[in-house]
């Protein structure tokens, strides 16, 4: 039996707004084991991104506990959570979120440099770019010179550069056409087969088929 990499215990998230509190998560408990590929589905506004942001340590639950690799994230300060994001979590966004000032290559190398305090001399960045299908010529380009599909491939390479325990994807194909979406899903499926733990938010049932488990969220709760 594999160990839980992610465990949520009655996680609630309330956004305090001037117009009144918005409860995005109403008490979510779940566990995801190592090597699993889990799809999170649900209607728009149901709290999928909020849930993923809690798991990705971009945000803190209002109440409840989140354990990553057995450690309670409640006890970690901002510095520790940030370094967890750097080393243990790979994040892929719907809007790609590459750094506009850096080339494709540099975008992938950035987390490597932040972690190792030196440039990549192992060839890892180059290999990852090759794996997602970005050749050397393309890797010199800035993000705004590349297509959406190319940007998302680079984002995947970036998410993997520090060999994270968890890969989180928030609608990774949401901004792509179906042909390109398929190619991106092939890459993610491949990563899953090689043992990567993946949690992916999607509202596309076809995309969700790549996962081996689907969790449906409705109105901030597991349906």
């Amino acid at each position: 039996m594999s160990s839980p990499v992610i465990e949520l215990d009655d996680v609630k998230k309330i956004y305090p707004l001037p117009s009144g509190d918005v409860t995005a998560l109403r008490g979510i408990s779940l566990r995801i084991d190592e090597g699993e590929f889990v799809a999170i589905m649900g209607p728009s506004g149901s709290g999928k991104s909020t849930l993923l942001n809690q798991i990705g340590c971009l945000d803190r639950p209002t109440s409840g506990d989140l354990f990553l690799a057995g450690k309670n994230t409640r006890e970690m300060d901002d510095r520790e959570l940030t370094s967890l994001r750097l080393t243990s979590i790979g994040y892929i966004f719907q809007k790609f979120n590459l750094i506009p000032l850096l080339s494709a290559y540099e975008n992938v190398e950035y987390p490597y440099i932040m972690k190792h305090r030196k440039n990549d001399d192992t060839g890892r960045v180059r290999d990852l770019l090759a794996m997602v299908g970005i050749d050397e010529n393309l890797s010199a380009h800035k993000p705004n010179e590349l297509s959406g599909g190319q940007q998302q491939r680079i984002a995947i390479a970036r998410a993997l550069v520090n060999d994270p325990a968890i890969l989180l994807c928030d609608e990774p194909t949401g901004n792509l056409d179906s042909q390109t979406s398929l190619q991106i899903m092939e890459i993610l499926g491949d990563l899953h087969h090689r043992g990567r733990t993946i949690v992916m938010v999607t509202h596309n049932p076809e995309t969700a088929e790549y996962a081996d488990r689907t969790i449906t969220i409705r109105d901030g709760m597991v349906a």
């Binding site: 971009l58 901002d78 370094s83 994001r85 590459l98 750094i99 000032l101």
Partner: protein, 405 residues
């Protein structure tokens, strides 16, 4: 490939991306640095050259009648204020005392002076008339053309006055106001060499005759407006001053003794007060520069909120975001300060040449030292100004920042 300090690389790229805006912000710093450095250098050069000029007179003392209060430091005999027949005069007896004291250290001589109306042909004017001992005149004044006056009707004139009134050897001058009584006509027999402003005697705009001539016009025999002392050994200045104070000012102050060091001090402090004041005004230009740097930094932060969110989300620490923006402000500050330093050497040189007249002391440490000082102030202001925007950037919530656009 980018260097190991990827945070610094990002700062450089951000500055380069907004090149024009960055240049304009740095320009403010350039102007501030130039203003502070050149004003500082101007003041320093003024002080240094005045000090040097006055050191030529370090062995001279002037004794003037005590007038209560401080006694005008620049007064000198050219002041034109006191007439020879008032109570404020040095008597013959007092002069003898001074002479006796000075005897073993150097020499002392008397000066009579009066400011009066003069007329040359049909042209009217005013000048200082000095009465000097005929012997002394030969010792302390240099005649450029002509000769020294011997009779009670001949005089020498300063070069500035000669030029202004077109005086030549043989020209006649009427001294005195015809409405108030008789005038005295004298003949120019010599024109003096230029002597410049001086504490002991300012002859460039004056008419100089013998004391006999002077007494003939104004009376006041044995009453002097000033006694000048020339000491052979600089180190005796204090001894002479003390001895005269002891004899003449024991019961009550009757004379004021001034040496050039007091004058130097006074001028130096005046110049430095002035310089500090003007420099403070120049500092306002740095304040303006600070506002523009602040503005540019806030713009940079606001434009890059989403980028900051991305950087934070993939594991960039708050301190590194802070560093990134401090670097950005620092680059603007240091580039501005370096350009400002180069510009202030050029502009400062021109200003000093124009305002002080000599660049002899330009590269003296006390002068050129204002360049690094102004640079440090400029760069520091930039970095300090960048702290708040950088702090704001580093405290953005990653989720909120990612939602921006």
């Amino acid at each position: 490939m980018i260097g190991n300090d990827i945070i610094f690389a990002l700062s450089v790229r951000s500055v380069r991306l907004h090149f024009l805006r960055s240049v304009l912000a740095a320009l403010g710093i350039v102007i501030g640095v130039v203003a502070i450095a050149s004003i500082g250098m101007m003041g320093a050069n003024m002080t240094l050259s005045v000090t040097e000029e006055l050191s030529d007179m370090a062995n001279k003392l002037t004794v003037t009648p005590y007038t209560g209060g401080g006694g005008g430091m620049m007064g000198g005999p050219g002041g034109g204020g006191g007439s020879s027949d008032d109570d404020d005069a040095i008597t013959e007896k007092e002069f003898k005392t001074i002479q006796r004291i000075v005897a073993k250290y150097g020499t002392a001589y008397t000066i009579m002076s009066e400011s009066d109306q003069i007329e040359v042909g049909s042209e009217e004017g005013r000048a200082t008339i000095y009465g000097l001992d005929a012997e002394i005149m030969r010792e302390i004044l240099t005649v450029e053309t002509g000769e020294y006056p011997k009779s009670t009707t001949s005089v020498v004139v300063g070069p500035t006055l000669a030029e202004r009134l077109d005086l030549k050897i043989g020209s006649k001058i009427d001294i005195g106001d015809p409405d108030e009584g008789s005038t005295t006509t004298v003949r120019v027999v010599g024109i003096l060499e230029e002597r410049g402003m001086s504490m002991d005697l300012s002859t460039d705009m004056a008419i100089i005759g013998t004391q006999k001539l002077f007494v003939g016009i104004y009376g006041g025999e044995g009453e002097y407006d000033q006694v000048n002392i020339v000491v052979n050994d600089l180190n005796d200045i204090d001894a002479v001053t003390e001895a005269i104070e002891d004899e003449l000012n024991r019961k009550e102050d009757t004379v004021t003794i001034q040496d050039s060091s007091r004058m130097t001090e006074s001028i130096t402090s005046t110049v430095s007060t002035m310089t500090t004041f003007v420099m403070a005004i120049a500092g306002i230009s740095l304040l303006v520069a600070a506002v523009s740097i602040f503005n540019v930094m806030m713009m940079s932060v606001n434009e890059r909120i989403r980028e900051i969110g991305i950087l934070r989300s993939i594991g960039t620490q708050r301190t590194e975001i802070l560093r990134m923006f401090i670097y950005e402000a620092g680059i603007l500050g240091i580039v501005g300060a370096v350009i400002g330093a180069v510009a202030s050497i050029v502009i400062g040189y021109i200003v000093v040449l124009g305002m002080v007249g000599t660049t002899e002391y330009f590269f003296a440490p006390g002068s050129i030292g204002y360049v690094p000082i102004a640079m440090a102030i400029g760069a520091a202001i930039c970095i300090v100004t960048g702290v708040y925007p950088a702090w704001r950037a580093s405290n953005l919530d990653p989720i909120e920042a990612l939602r921006a656009e």
